[in-house]
Amino acid sequence: METLQLEVLTPSGPIFNGPAKSVTLPGEEGEFGVLPEHVSLTTLLQAGVVDIQKENGKTESIVVNWGVVQITHDKVVVLVDGAVAIRGDSEGDIAKALDEAKSLISSVADSNTMIASVSARIESAAHNLV
């Protein structure tokens, strides 16, 4: 299975750097998925969830508040302002990440619907982790 090289960078350091099977991004014009060999594209992201399908079949969710994505055929670079990855070794860690993600999203999102939908998505993602 082919993979794409994904980098998620924030001003305080990389959050994700590695191969992925596919990635779903919250584009300004709506959500879109990227598979390997995608056409080159650069676009803005809005606050939302980046879903990564990793090489080993597991998924990882990263909550972002703003971003730009640059896609070249086998490489995806996501530049974001603030991001929280929903991951952790224990339930406590995951719960902490969830709280951080929720506060991040409520600090930028202006509509309650968006906050609710993002919260629901990350909660289900967290549920799958446990």
Partner: protein, 295 residues
């Protein structure tokens, strides 16, 4: 004998100072490592952001009639008002670190004053602010406790004012002046122009084969929001770079102070021994002459 006690007291006081400076050096070394790591990780983001901005700007420049219209990319040869943002440390005891920045600020200010350009000075860091307050130089705003604990959100809020004013046309350029980190023993002074962004270095034909596609309608919009982030990020980076430099400067200064204290203790010890010898000799002479007179 009084002299002896006095010297002993001095030795004690100097070696106490030495202990303090050595501790401060160790603290700075540890903090430097952390700050350096932070700066290193952050640089990756800077590289990519610059790359993306340059690509988009070059593309618009080459494909659109009349080139870029966005104010943030246009060179302005006759600025009327500029923002100068300086970053100094909140604390002293770091050698010439703060003074270098202050001197650079004064130099740049003098340069623009000669050209009859109005300057808005915005300060970060207690030391620089104190200096300009003392010299009665007017400042637009002052932020303390940010350079010792860089924070993306606070620096963005601070920067937002300059960015907004620039976009509205109130100011024509934004400069950031800070003393950055080069390596453990050297600091490098940076005078960076953040806005307008300099994209003249990127040639049109570089992008021809990259086949970059955009969501067509939002090129300008994307550029606009990218530039804001770019400027905010530059501010943040200046802060963390300056913090790393501050620690390295302090480390050096404290190292020098420790060595000086060591030398001082040595020379005081020599002085002490001499004085002691002198006291013994005097005492001996007194005893001998006493014995002689008894004969």
């Amino acid at each position: 004998m009084a002299n002896l006690k006095e010297i002993q007291r001095q030795i004690k006081s100097v070696s106490n100072t030495q202990k303090t400076t050595r501790a401060m050096k160790l603290v700075s070394t540890a903090k430097l490592r952390r700050a350096e790591e932070l700066a290193k990780r952050s640089r990756l983001f800077a590289q990519k952001t610059n790359q993306v901005i340059a690509e988009i700007a070059a593309r618009i420049q080459c494909n659109k009639v009349g080139g870029i219209e966005n104010r943030c990319f246009l060179e302005n040869d006759a600025p009327e008002m500029i923002d100068i943002i300086f970053v100094t440390a909140d604390k002293g005891l770091c050698g010439g670190f703060n003074m270098q920045t202050i001197k650079a600020v004064k130099r740049v200010m003098a340069e623009y004053k000669n050209k009859k350009v109005k300057i808005r000075l915005r300060g970060i860091g207690k030391k620089g602010i104190e200096f300009f307050n003392y010299n009665e130089v007017e400042m637009l705003d002052e932020v303390k406790n940010l350079s010792s604990a860089p924070d993306m959100q606070r620096s963005s809020e601070f920067m937002a004012r300059s960015i907004d004013d620039f976009k509205e046309g109130k100011i024509d350029a934004v400069y950031i002046i800070y003393n950055g980190y080069l390596n453990v023993i050297t600091q490098q002074l940076h005078v960076n122009r953040v806005l307008p962004v300099d994209v003249s270095a990127y040639e049109c034909d570089v992008e021809k084969d990259s086949m970059l596609e955009f969501e067509a309608q939002d090129e300008e919009k994307m550029l606009d929001s990218l530039v804001t982030k770019y400027a905010e990020y530059n501010m943040y980076y200046a802060l963390i770079d300056s913090l790393a430099a501050e620690h390295s400067a302090r480390m050096q200064a404290m190292d020098a102070a420790t060595n000086n204290a060591k030398e001082m203790v040595n020379s005081l010890k020599v002085k002490f021994n001499k004085a002691r010898q002198e006291a013994i000799t005097t005492e001996l002479i007194e005893i001998i002459s006493g014995v002689e007179s008894m004969k």
